[in-house]
Symmetry: C2
Subunit: 554 residues, 2 copies
């Protein structure tokens, strides 16, 4: 009864949000997981370093999970592995560069020896039992990216991963459209496709175009060239290296992830540069400026990354020099606009030249635009379609695009993270949901910061805090010490002495009132103190600091 067979597709992250991409595909007693990414915190997730997916569902089905299959080596696809593998140590599959980057991550956590990393080449298929996972080469802003075709007894599920269609990729390895087309011909049950750039018309520009711009810029550069870009964009790195070599420049890598990833990419043969062309940052001073290129992290303006430190003169080894030319070869990820703008302004103030995307074409996107998506839909013409990787509006627009291409509305499923799509040969439907969500990583803590803590941080951030502390003697119903007021982030203490004294007076009045009536229950005392202070402070300042009443009792 093959027809009764069903496969479940469960997005555990990446739908209705940017990042923490993770999808489980479940058939009977087998689950394969696609990707394991992190998301970066929103601005209201105060103090949170990273966000990882909640994998309760996988933990509850531990025995079924056969492996995690990684489409490519970007953080939003591999970044959660060090956390997730600690809870669920299953084999990881990926292409060579992807695994190199994962290994690098796991090394930092001393986890390499405990994890099973399996290298798969594009074109190869990993057979679990009933499920088979085929790696199909695609093009993206990182080398060695793949789409995954999951062959199930119910039919083929094609997950594009992140992709663009670059007909002239730097490494010459074009997307395997032939295989995708042949899968389409024999019938694809369900397509999951990248929605990031669905709002953009036309076709992405080839990475190669950037090479031409860089060449022109390098030609005119009189001093050092300092290029900030994403550390994982090895093709970009290669093009910067090519331009450098052409114009007689040595290349130095600056910033931890840039150094690490370039090292991995060189070792694995993805980045081509002879030893004599690379120098370390300490050697820069041994060469004239016009013979130096520095490739650096910080293209998002991150305050602690190398570029920001160079611009604000806090970098220990790289100081701005006359005729320095900076290239920001990246576009700001939404939310980072102001950070990168601040760095650019600072560079201009120090009289450096700066070239960025608003001025010259020094960056291209790695995600398919509308015409590329249409090509994939045309080649695959799946029975069912589920847009993935994007905010809700992107998913919705991608669904609309599929509909315009002729798909029936009832065959398109715009899910949110955690919803379960059950697919049989003839039918698909949303059949409920599994527990999912965001787990916050803050320092060493994973999941110990939740909504209450974040709410408190928000209030603290807005108006600071005000502690009222008093020592009481229970027997005599009397105040032994205090009330004292300590504030942080509320007002200048010195200039607000009067305000603080008034608050003290109010607290004392409230306390006296209670104690005179022989009330010494902490709860009542604290509530009364808090309310009185809150009211007074708000009336006088229109601020709502967190009020923390503390009673010490003797």
């Amino acid at each position: 009864m093959k027809n009764a067979d069903k496969v479940k597709v469960i997005p555990l992250g990446g739908l209705g949000e940017i990042g923490k991409n993770m999808t489980a595909i479940e058939y009977q007693n087998e689950i394969v997981v696609i990707d394991c990414g992190i998301a970066f915190p929103d601005e209201d997730m105060y103090g949170v370093d990273l966000v990882i997916p909640d994998i309760t569902y996988l933990i509850n089905n531990k025995d079924k999970v056969k492996g995690i299959f990684i489409t490519h080596g970007h953080e939003d696809h591999i970044g959660s592995l060090p956390y997730i593998l600690k809870q669920l140590n299953v084999p990881v599959y990926g292409t060579k560069l992807t695994l190199g980057l994962i290994e690098n991550k796991l090394k930092e956590e001393n986890m390499v020896s405990d994890c099973t990393l399996n290298c798969v080449k594009a074109g190869e298929t990993v057979t679990i039992e009933n499920l088979k996972v085929e790696f199909i080469r695609c093009t993206h802003s990182i080398a060695d990216s793949c789409c995954l075709a999951i062959h199930t007894p119910v039919g083929v599920i094609l997950h594009t991963g992140d992709f663009k269609i670059d007909y002239t990729p730097i490494d010459g390895l074009v997307m395997d459209l032939e295989r995708i087309s042949s899968l389409g011909k024999s019938g694809v049950l369900l397509l999951l496709a990248d929605s990031t750039n669905v709002e953009r018309q036309g076709h992405t520009i080839s990475e190669k175009a950037i090479g031409e711009t860089l060449d022109r810029i390098f030609l005119g550069a009189e001093g050092r060239v300092i290029v900030a870009t994403f550390a994982s964009n090895i093709h970009r790195m290669q093009q910067i290296i090519n331009a450098s070599i052409k114009y007689g420049r040595k290349v130095a890598f600056s910033g931890r992830s840039m150094e690490n990833i370039s090292q991995v990419a060189m070792e694995l043969g993805y980045l081509h540069i002879s030893d004599g062309q690379i120098i370390c940052v300490d050697e820069i001073k041994n060469y004239p400026n016009e013979q130096i290129t520095i490739i650096t992290t910080g293209s998002q303006g991150e305050p602690m990354a190398a570029l920001a430190r160079i611009s604000f003169s806090t970098h220990k080894k790289i100081k701005i020099e006359p005729k320095d030319l900076f290239i920001i070869s990246a576009s700001p990820i939404p939310g980072n606009e102001k950070l990168i703008s601040r760095v650019i302004n600072e560079l201009f103030k120090k009289d450096a030249k700066v070239i960025y995307d608003d001025l010259e074409e020094v960056h291209v996107s790695g995600h398919a635009y509308q015409e590329e998506l249409k090509l994939i839909h045309t080649l695959v013409h799946p029975k069912f379609f589920m847009p993935v990787h994007g905010e809700y509006r992107h998913l919705k627009h991608h669904a609309a695009l599929a509909q315009k291409m002729g798909m029936k509305d009832e065959n398109i499923f715009t899910l949110e993270t955690g919803q379960v799509l059950e697919v049989s040969e003839d039918e698909a439907s949303i059949s409920g949901s599994v527990p999912t969500g965001s787990v916050y990583v803050d320092g060493l803590g994973v999941g110990d910061v939740g909504n209450i803590v974040l709410r408190d941080r928000k209030y603290l951030a807005e108006d600071g805090m005000l502690t009222v502390v008093v020592t009481l003697e229970r027997e005599s119903y009397s105040i032994l010490a205090g009330p004292d007021i300590i504030t942080r982030g509320f007002v200048y203490a010195k200039e607000s002495e009067e305000l603080i004294n008034e608050i003290k007076a109010i607290v004392r009045r409230e306390l006296d009132n209670c104690l005179d009536n022989r009330i010494i229950e902490w709860y009542i005392l604290k509530t009364n103190m808090k309310k009185a202070v809150e009211r007074f402070v708000y009336e006088n300042t229109k601020r709502r600091p967190i009020i923390l009443p503390i009673i010490m009792e003797i």
Copy 2:
């Protein structure tokens, strides 16, 4: 000896930053001030509502200040008036609509009767004594905008204010290029020109183009049309009204500033709509959906504005209904991208249609692009040039543009806020600086939140706080109560009981250590406690909450 005469130009805000535009022009015993704006706080200015310029220099030269001349009615040009006029009550000059908006602001602060507002028509000149201020019509994203020509005995200073060159403005009142040209012909000493869009090539699109897009969108709308835009963009409002009337829709205004400003604009004759066409939000339900347009605030995704409240179903009077069509007729101000994206996603989730700038041309900029700037430079061909209104990179690019147009580098002055440009008939130079900066408005407090408070708020936001409180008896060197630990925004208290207990133990050990050695100086006790807790917490959590040691003494 006219040649020895000098005039000082002192930007008190708006250079090297977006917002709080304010420039003082000083000749002997006269100062005229141009504009008096606010800036919106950066994301690291936790809890700050507004930023206003520091006017210490004007206060110190109180007797010289003859008036504040306003170019147009945007917040970044008028928003500081309620604060500044309290410190420096001088006459304010502006065009009718500008004054209407200012009056509206002052009313809210009960300040109208104390202030002198003088209405000036475009084309008119206000004579102080030696200084004369001429209002010259320009076009911008708010009606009744002007450039200002300050006629001084040394020469003419032309300040463009914010402008674009719209050859087909909605009100038919084109920019007075004739007057600007004739000033240029007779010789302009110094040009101060808007730099906001200097990085954009070409020419801005006319506001009228939006009308055509709106018309097309309204034609196809089947339910209500809800348009979010800037409340001050009265031309946009007019075009929305025109499309509404054409397609038989009544118009309701939603959001406080939208209601206020539309009211002012109608009263003053800047917004044309017959009484029967306007309804209030409560009357919406009396009409079929296809006969309703709502013009609302919240185009930046501000969480408390009407649009966000509608989208998250927290608006009391406007609920999303089937076939609702939302138009976000604005582009996000840098920093607001995520906020507006959140609102758009929410609207899509609720099955509304949403049109925004990425999809259709529903917004145009109000600031001149490169070709418009070139026209102004060509017409004015000033002796000296100072780029204004923009981040440092914009000023720098504007300086480069002027240079490309043939100006000598030594005649271009890229200043920062607070620097003084001294100009004589033949020479100009930066002659020092005056005290300036940002004054933070937080609730009712103006200037009582500074860098220390903000630094604390930042730490509180990142990792929360941890209070250690203990009551000691001085005589006996003994602990009477505590140590108690109270945290906020640090960790889930319940799940971290062990951690908290360990911290208590550490504090007790430190205290015992001190007290055993007969040390009871608060400073030492507190420092030791703080350091020990800080170290322990960081090692165990990699977090740095603010540690607040409190000692009560009996």
